[in-house]
Symmetry: C2
Subunit: 151 residues, 2 copies
DNA sequence: CCCCAAATAAGATAGAATCCTATTTACGAA
DNA sequence: TTCGTAAATAGGATTCTATCTTATTTGGGG
């Protein structure tokens, strides 16, 4: 909530314009859901957004929050923080390594990179606290999915 | 399942030793859960592991899979693939950026890094398919949590 | 101002993960 | 080897996130 007002205003203006271009109806609810998210730098979850929006629209339902965020994410107007994780997935490879994640089939492949291994924690990250690990996730379409094989 | 047998054997041996050192009981179920994970390079979920282990222990319950994987993760013997994501969290910052994630309180902070911006998709990742995005997650303890502030 | 596809509210539903409790078991000590 | 006990398990119940269903409302083009 400590974002510069001009940043928020810019986001809201861009949002309105994008919605018009994409033929997404500018409902009261949709606008307030986006405003709540665009005014925060906390990467809020649905419950947090719902709490905020309820102050302006007391009857708004959680489903409307979910529905709009999903729609907006599909249109590239917001994104999901963190990573693709519908369910927990585990790893017995405890060595340092990174992941290639297929956005089609969800397959996760390990890789290491000599180039990346020598990168220290970025100073910009250290400014927030004491880093202890670093993980790179490369998203893309795996060879199998490119060839149209079944997932 | 295409892992070299020696790799699997080494993992199992290390696992037995670690369990003894950490005073974790080597139950039949725990051993088979770890064997299933250590024999796979698919980053399997609980259901997949359950299917595999059931061939040897037909009565094993999903809860035992969950319980053991969680315990082993706490002891650093396995890890959770992907990222910390108990629930969906959203982001209105659509510019390219990375995340610092506090392992104590879950706070997510944005950062960019000139050093990282110029990194191309690693060749090792491109070997798996066509990358389309890249995201770095730095885990650590944020300043607030270091100072013992409440989450 | 009209119309209607799109969007919403509220409750039902699905599914993942955890909790509860009676029973079993691993393993240290005698 | 046997024994005692705390740890672990099985299976059902429960919690909680997210999605779906359906009747109702509404944004916005014509
Ligand atoms: Mn991995
Ligand atoms: Mn972010
Ligand atoms: Zn794929
Ligand atoms: Zn913290």
């Amino acid at each position: 909530m400590t974002l510069p007002r001009e940043t928020v205003e810019a986001r809201l203006a861009a949002f309105r314009e994008a919605c018009v271009q994409k033929r997404l109806r500018l409902t009261h609810q949709r606008m307030e859901v986006f405003r709540a998210l665009a005014s925060s730098e906390e990467h809020p979850d649905v419950e947090s957004i719902h709490r905020v929006v309820r102050k302006r629209i007391p009857t708004i339902s959680p489903d409307t929050i979910y529905r709009n965020l999903k729609l907006l994410a599909e249109h590239g107007l917001v994104s999901v923080a963190g990573m693709s994780a519908d369910r927990l997935r585990f790893d017995a490879n405890m060595g340092p390594h990174h992941h290639f994640v297929c956005v089609k089939c969800g397959r996760i492949r390990d890789f290491t990179s000599r180039e990346l291994e020598h990168i220290a924690f970025p100073a910009e990250a250290r400014a927030f606290g004491a880093p202890c690990s670093m993980h790179l996730e490369v998203k893309g379409v795996c060879s199998a999915c490119q060839k149209g094989r079944k997932p």
